[in-house]
Symmetry: C2
Subunit: 312 residues, 2 copies
C-alpha cells in the first residue's frame, strides 16, 4: 500500500460540516436549526480553513454570532444514498457537537424533544410510547416473517424502549431512532420531510435527509458524556444555583435525579465553588450561587458528573 495520497477518480468530492449546536433554553434542551426547523445548520468546508474544527468555529460564529464553547467531532458519513439523486457528486459529511450558552431569545432554537418526543421521561414515560409506538412496533415485529425474526425484533424493541421489565436507558437515543426508522415509523424513511402532519405528534418532527439521525447521535453522545465529564457547565450561566444545574442535567438526560444525592455528588467532587452570593429568585429559601471550578478541567481530565439516577 503506497503511503502517498491518491486523487479520487470519478466526480468531485465535496466536504460538508454539519453542526449539532446545543443550548438549554428556558429549561428545554435545545438545538439550533435552520429552514424553519427542518435542518441542522451546515455548510461547505472551505479550503481556506486551517482545520475542520476551526472551519466549524468560524462559520458557526459567523452565522449565529454565538461564542462556541465545547466542540467535539461526532461522526463522518459518506454513504452513497446521501448524494443528491442523479449527481455523481460524492458528499462527505462531518458532523460536530457544540455546546453554547444561549443568551438572547433568538430564532432557530428548538427543543430536541420536538424531534424525539419519546425521549423526555422527566414526567414519567411519555404516553406516546405506550399509546402509539409500542402497538406499531409490535405490529412491525410480528410482520417479521417466520422463524425467530419476530422475537428477535421484539427483543430489540423491548430493550431499546425499556419494555417487558427492562430499564429505560436514556443513552440509547440513536438505537431507538434507527429502530423506528427500520420499522418505517418515521417520515424520513419515505423521504417526505418536515410538515405539521398528524404523525408529528407520534414520530416527532422530521428533518431533511439524515439530519435527525445526526441529531440523535449528538444527543446520545451528550447524554453519555455528562456522566463522566463536567461538560454541563458549558451550558450554564457563570453563576447558578445547584437546582438550576440539576435542572439542566435533567433536561439533557430526559429524566429526574435525586436532589440531595445530586448535591452530594457535585460537592464531593469539588466541581463548583460558592460565589458568596445568594438569590431569592428561585422562590422558597434563598439558594447559594455557585460557579464552576475551572481548575478541575486541568486537575482531572477524567472527572465527571455522574448521574445519581432514581431507580425505576
Amino acid at each position: 500500500m503506497p503511503e502517498t495520497t491518491t486523487v479520487s477518480l470519478a466526480g468531485a468530492i465535496a466536504v460538508d460540516l454539519i453542526a449539532v449546536l446545543v443550548a438549554v433554553v428556558n429549561g428545554s434542551p435545545s438545538v439550533l436549526t435552520v429552514q424553519n426547523g427542518d435542518a441542522l445548520p451546515s455548510g461547505p468546508f472551505e479550503d481556506a480553513h486551517r482545520s475542520l474544527q476551526t472551519g466549524l468555529r468560524i462559520w458557526v460564529e459567523e452565522q449565529t454570532h454565538h461564542p462556541l464553547g465545547y466542540v467535539e467531532q461526532l461522526y463522518t458519513f459518506a454513504d452513497r444514498d446521501r448524494s443528491a439523486a442523479g449527481s455523481s457528486q460524492r458528499v462527505i459529511s462531518i458532523s460536530y457537537l457544540g455546546l453554547t450558552r444561549e443568551t438572547r431569545g433568538e430564532v432557530g432554537w428548538r427543543s430536541w424533544y420536538d424531534y424525539f418526543p419519546w425521549e423526555d421521561h422527566r414526567d414519567g414515560p411519555p404516553v406516546v410510547i405506550a399509546e402509539h409506538l409500542v402497538p406499531r412496533l409490535r405490529d412491525w415485529a410480528q410482520a417479521g416473517g417466520t422463524a425467530a425474526l419476530p422475537e428477535e425484533r421484539w427483543r430489540r424493541c423491548a430493550f431499546a424502549f425499556g419494555l417487558d421489565g427492562a430499564a429505560w436507558n436514556e443513552e440509547l437515543v440513536l438505537q431507538r431512532y434507527e429502530l423506528l426508522y427500520e420499522a418505517a415509523l418515521v417520515p424520513e424513511r419515505v423521504r417526505e420531510t418536515g410538515g405539521q402532519s398528524d404523525a408529528t405528534r407520534i414520530s416527532g418532527r422530521a428533518m431533511t435527509g439524515d439530519h435527525r439521525r445526526i441529531l440523535a447521535t449528538g444527543i446520545a453522545r451528550l447524554r453519555a458524556k455528562i456522566k463522566y465529564r463536567p461538560v454541563v457547565f458549558e451550558l450554564m450561566q457563570p453563576a447558578f444555583t445547584l437546582l438550576q444545574l440539576q435542572r439542566a442535567v435533567e433536561a439533557l438526560a430526559g429524566r429526574l435525579v435525586h436532589k440531595q444525592n445530586f448535591r452530594r455528588l457535585i460537592e464531593q467532587q469539588e466541581l463548583v465553588e460558592e460565589t458568596g452570593v445568594t438569590t431569592s429568585d428561585t422562590g422558597g429559601r434563598p439558594a447559594k450561587l455557585f460557579r464552576f471550578r475551572h481548575a478541575v478541567l486541568a486537575e482531572r481530565a477524567a472527572a465527571g458528573t455522574k448521574l445519581p439516577l432514581t431507580r425505576a
Copy 2:
C-alpha cells in the same frame, strides 16, 4: 444557510482511509503496519464503495486476508499541514479502529509498545519515564518563559504521566503523546521519520506523518472501551481460559488487574459460559475453557468489562 451541498473551490479533495488494526499476538497488543513499521495501512476511499465502513472492510480484507471483526470510526482529520508540501491537494483522513483475531504469524504486526514504550505498566512504571522523560519534560517546562507557564506546563506533565502523587491513568495515551510532541521529544516534530536512532528507545518508534498520533487515538479509545463494552472478546480465540482473557485485557490496558476480582466481575456479568472442556496447557491446575456469550451483545448494549484495577 443553504441546504444544498457545495463544490469545494480550489484544488481537489482526496479522501483517505487509515486503519488502526489491533490484535493480541503472543500476549502483545499489536497493530498492523506497513512499510516496515513506519506507517499504518491506508488507502484511498474509492467512489465505488457503498459507505466508508464497507470501503474500509473491503480493502482491509483485500490487503490482509483477515476477517475484520469489530470496527469503529476514530476521527477525521483535515489539518492543512497534512497535505503534501507544495501540493494544493487537500486530504481528508478518516481513521478507523478495527479488532481482529490474528492467526498466522504474519509480518506487519508490531507491539504498540514499540511505538509507546512509556505506556506499558504491566511490570510497574517503565524506567524510561523516570530516567529520560521526566528530566526532559522538566527542562521543557522550565523553559516556558516567565510567569505561570512553567508551573502550568509541569502540572500538565505530572497529570498526564502520573507524577507528584497523581495516579497513572492508562487512558491518557493521546494526551501523553501530544505533550511529548509539544515538548519536541518525538522525532515527528522535526519530520525525521522511522529509523533505528538511539532516540527510539526513549521516544519510541516514529511513524510517517501523524500516523503515530492516530495510533495513540486508537489505543486510547480501546483502553476506554474495554471498561464498558465487551470488545475484548473480538480479540480472543473462540475458547479461552479466564487467565488468557485477563492477560489480553492487561496487554491492552498496559496494567495488571486483580485476578480474583477480574474473575468475579466476568462471571457475575455473565459475559462467558463454560465450554465443559478444560486445558492443562497453562501449567498448574487445569483451567476451564470458556466461550463468550454472544447473547449479551443483544441483552445489554451497555454491558461491559470494567477493570478491577489494582490501586497504586
